[in-house]
Symmetry: C2
Subunit: 335 residues, 2 copies
């Protein structure tokens, strides 16, 4: 087995310097570092991280606890973003999926702390409040896509209000004055914040807020039932003064709305303009016209979370991460 | 910090026996084991697995290398199933996502082997052939949702042919004699196998195979372009003798087909019956009528893979895992 001494000999560089390179000491000169890395590659040297971990108390492992992030079609990019930055740091993620079970959270934490993780990302598959066990604070921790009112942990959240504003403004800019909003379930954090963004966009455009245009879509799928925007569309179509544009609370609603409007002889992109939230790739690009939607910023939240873990930034506040606008055609009429 | 000696004292059982329990020795009597576990819980004893790993050469970690399994909306359940069994074994998964880059695969393997993983699951987000680096064989390994022709690794694959048969038979049983098949891209493994199942189901029913009824949907989304079943439907609608039922290669096709048929004045569930593959929860339950579809057996493949890693089963063959049928309404006409 190749040892660090062999690398030092091959590179013609001191053992101590090679060790510093292997341990990612940033003080090593770029040139020296390159030489060492080349020798490492030529000799196929593989540091024994388990042994190193015992010496340095450094495991190179970041814990990633998620409630279904990895298994739901919503938020896998949170993990992708976290992993991208971890890999840049030479670290790996140890992923534990806990679903929404407090006992499993405790088990997961125990397992990870036993393995001497250097940091911990706690991520939720949808934007919500969580309870943070005190033990989590024994290592550098961040929350992604969830928050705790009193934990004092750095937190990265999607900027729901900005997304609501942008999704609405896009329709305002197309000249619409009757813009409906099919909201998510009222108990979800995103619902109120996006609605606030909708109100702000209307106000900025000098348009009156009409409560008749805000209708609730069903959405909490805990029972495994499909979401339905049917009653929302029915309500809107019974108005004396129908909307000419609709902001849909999620792409699943939008997909249903395309169908539902056909029953009223209306076609998205011809009679009614639509925007939405999520950018689900199974749905948004497959609709005709393509769905214009605010993409959930999961990738960026995952990146920001891991970057923060080992940064010198001691800020434990909340960072809002913007939703990128994915412009397709549904916000336009007869483009 | 509570030590293993404290546990032994509390339980009134020898140090050696407690150690055997902590190390999951199956030879310990059930009763003794229960006593020790109770003391462990009362004292909140947490074994230092890092130290133990150095002593025992056992890390309690299973490597899970995936090409986008965790970040695509297709196959997250593979990870969920693997984790479920790993947790039952007291192990955790270390997850590395490599996308489809050979160099990153090597890096991922290095990282995991350095950390003394006890076993390795290599999973693909779609059923395909992969190249297995020789080093992978230095630990117990399994392939899930992918295969290698000459690696000699135990392999778990979805039973595409069975799925094709079942999706077709369901329509045959409703009395359909003109059943079309919109296939996935011809280069995908699933395409040929499902088509074979379709042929078998027709043959078993004494129905002739009509090549005109087999049309290709576009599907490989490498360029980020949406899949489209539009040309497939156009082709089918131009036939003198149109199909009365369609097997769709994936739920995304099915979703498009619902729309596309409307242009020809046809409605799914009234004029045309449909079955599909995948059971994408963003799509299948949200369509009206609900989409009857063969669910990808990702959860079960993940479970089977990890179960096999540490079983006494030395079989390195291929196990086909069946697709569960998710019966909604789209296979029925005017139910």
């Amino acid at each position: 087995m190749v040892s660090i001494k062999d690398v030092a000999k091959h590179a013609g560089i001191s053992f101590k310097t090679v060790s510093r390179v292997v341990n990612n000491d940033p003080a090593v000169r770029q040139e020296t570092r390159a030489k060492v890395l080349q020798s490492i590659e030529v000799l196929n040297y593989r540091p024994n991280r388990a042994a190193r971990m015992m010496r340095n108390q450094r495991s190179g492992v970041i814990g990633f606890i998620s409630d279904e992030v990895v298994t739901r079609p919503y938020a896998g990019e949170l993990l992708l973003g976290a992993q991208e930055i971890a890999n840049q740091q030479g670290r790996v993620l140890m992923v534990v999926n806990i679903e929404q079970d407090r006992r499993r959270l405790q088990q997961a934490l125990d397992m990870l702390l036993e393995r001497r993780i250097e940091g911990l990302v706690f991520a939720s598959y949808f934007h919500r409040e969580v309870e943070v066990p005190e033990e989590m604070l024994s290592v550098p921790s961040v929350l992604a896509n969830c928050f705790s009112r009193n934990a004092g942990v750095a937190t990265f959240l999607p900027d729901e209000c900005q997304a609501g504003q942008d999704a609405t403004r896009l329709l305002v800019e197309q000249g619409h004055q009757r813009i409906a909003f099919i909201t998510l379930h009222p108990e979800i954090v995103a619902t109120g914040l996006r609605l606030e963004g909708y109100r702000q966009a209307l106000q900025q455009a000098g348009l009156a807020f009409d409560p008749q245009l805000v209708v609730q879509g069903e959405c909490l799928n805990e029972a495994g039932e499909p979401s339905s925007a049917a009653s929302a569309i029915e309500t809107l179509m019974q108005l004396d003064h129908r909307p000419t544009a609709i902001v849909c609370g999620k792409d699943e609603f939008a997909m249903q709305v395309y169908f539902l409007l056909l029953r009223y002889g209306l076609q998205v992109g011809v009679d009614i303009a639509i925007t939405s939230f999520d950018n689900q790739l199974l749905i948004a690009p497959n609709l005709t016209p393509g769905l214009t939607t605010m993409a959930l910023p999961h990738l960026e939240m995952g990146r920001a979370a891991v970057r923060h873990l080992f940064s010198s930034d001691a800020d434990r506040g909340t960072t809002l991460v913007p939703f990128p606008l994915i412009e397709r055609e549904s916000h336009l009429l007869n483009p």
